[in-house]
Symmetry: C2
Subunit: 305 residues, 2 copies
Amino acid sequence: MVDVDSFIDEKIEEISSQVGDANAVIALSGGVDSSTAAALAYEAIGSQLTPVYVDTGLMREGETDQIREVFSYMDSLRIVDAKDRFLDELEGVTDPEEKRHVIGEQFIREFETVAKDVDADYLVQGTIYPDRIESEGTIKSHHNVGGLPDVVDFEGIVEPMRDLYKDEVREVARDLDLEEIIAERMPFPGPGLAVRIIGEVTEEKLDVARMANHVVEDELEEYEPWQALAAVIGKATGVKGDNRVHGWVVSVRSVESRDGMTARAQEIDWETLQRIQSRITGGHDNVARVVYDVTHKPPATIEYE
Amino acid sequence: MVDVDSFIDEKIEEISSQVGDANAVIALSGGVDSSTAAALAYEAIGSQLTPVYVDTGLMREGETDQIREVFSYMDSLRIVDAKDRFLDELEGVTDPEEKRHVIGEQFIREFETVAKDVDADYLVQGTIYPDRIESEGTIKSHHNVGGLPDVVDFEGIVEPMRDLYKDEVREVARDLDLEEIIAERMPFPGPGLAVRIIGEVTEEKLDVARMANHVVEDELEEYEPWQALAAVIGKATGVKGDNRVHGWVVSVRSVESRDGMTARAQEIDWETLQRIQSRITGGHDNVARVVYDVTHKPPATIEYE
């Protein structure tokens, strides 16, 4: 990419001429790639583009509000509240692969509903160069929701950033005033908090996972981890007040890594661990225990499922 | 207790005259109380006493061998290999209370079989004074297997140490040359490793729990914990060799306490935690992750079930 301004001008023209006066949709995930692609396409075709954010209920604390704020300038923005439908579909599903599958399917269903509603002929995607390379491997695809183009039938796919690297995307994003989105966020898996919950996903476990992930991101920011997270991994006994309870065990994980392929568990000082422990056990009635993951990758993975 | 020697002489005489030429049994758990009571009664009535050690398969590494060695001088010693029967009974049992119940019932069945086989009219027990007080509460009974006297029908119960405190029992034990038994062992719950396994007890989980508890006792001895243990608490993803695995999560716990009623998670240095992690993940093919429990009691309990 020679120059950001001329790249943007060129892409705006390309998108306009490709889509013409038809309609287009894009799935906003909250990540930098889809956000930048949406902003580019909106510059080109305005409200002919419908950006769709599906609130799966599996997102981090405040994520939906942030999307609403950053993209409030697009009046065609659709925020789909699909929380209950995702929970319904996930009821009784305990196998990790099946969970991913159920989430992917429901996501496509939600997205397709909007695409049909607005009569979209084009699908805009935030695909970047490394995605096209990596999609031949299995490691990343595993964390992605979707495979939209295979399922929904569009006249054309628009991928304005298909030749860019990540740092170039960030430059474009900055130029398009997407400051809040490009703030370095930690990697977050496509199926969201669902992979940070061992076994069935329920409303209570989601509440615990959301609260605990918020505490961990807040307390461990200063350690500058590659990724810090909390997972609801099971139940064990505890004592709350005068009662013996059978409460959730929350595992806290913080790792250093260059590329995510290997990672080292971070040494966190005892006081910080105690503050995290006390905020998490105090943050929900049914949490009885907090453990800290001391395992590197390998033999553990960074995420829990 | 005025004097250990005269206490022992007095009790030997009492036991002899109570049991006469009948037979008696005692359940050996490996703890100081039952071991001391057995040694006392054996002094009194010799091979009319059958000490019964039930190997439930839920014991710590080396525990059965230690019993065999310490009590090898009693030729009436019965070591019952009940491992398979306990595993069979525990198959499919996931509820913590039901697990305890199943173990208690099977224990009684095994014990009763020997009692009938040797035609025992008397039951010897290592009850001490605090047990009689505490048995009115619920906290300790909860960790005990049994309630033997209620179920098996004996002519009489022999409790030679019913008026002693723990430190007095230790004096008697020393006088009876039970050095190995009175070595300060950490508290170990009656249902054994079963309460250190969340969910169903299987042979594989028992192997993992036994190995991990051995590593933890070995590595954390220098911290002089009130109790240090390892529990198999669930499954999560990992990478072993080139394969993605779904392996066991082992939680390590080490606490300081005065009385077990409240406890503080111990701060363990990072190098030791890493050594534990590497020994445990390396100690069994299907362990993918080690976490360290940072929760005090309350809100967590010391054990996991």
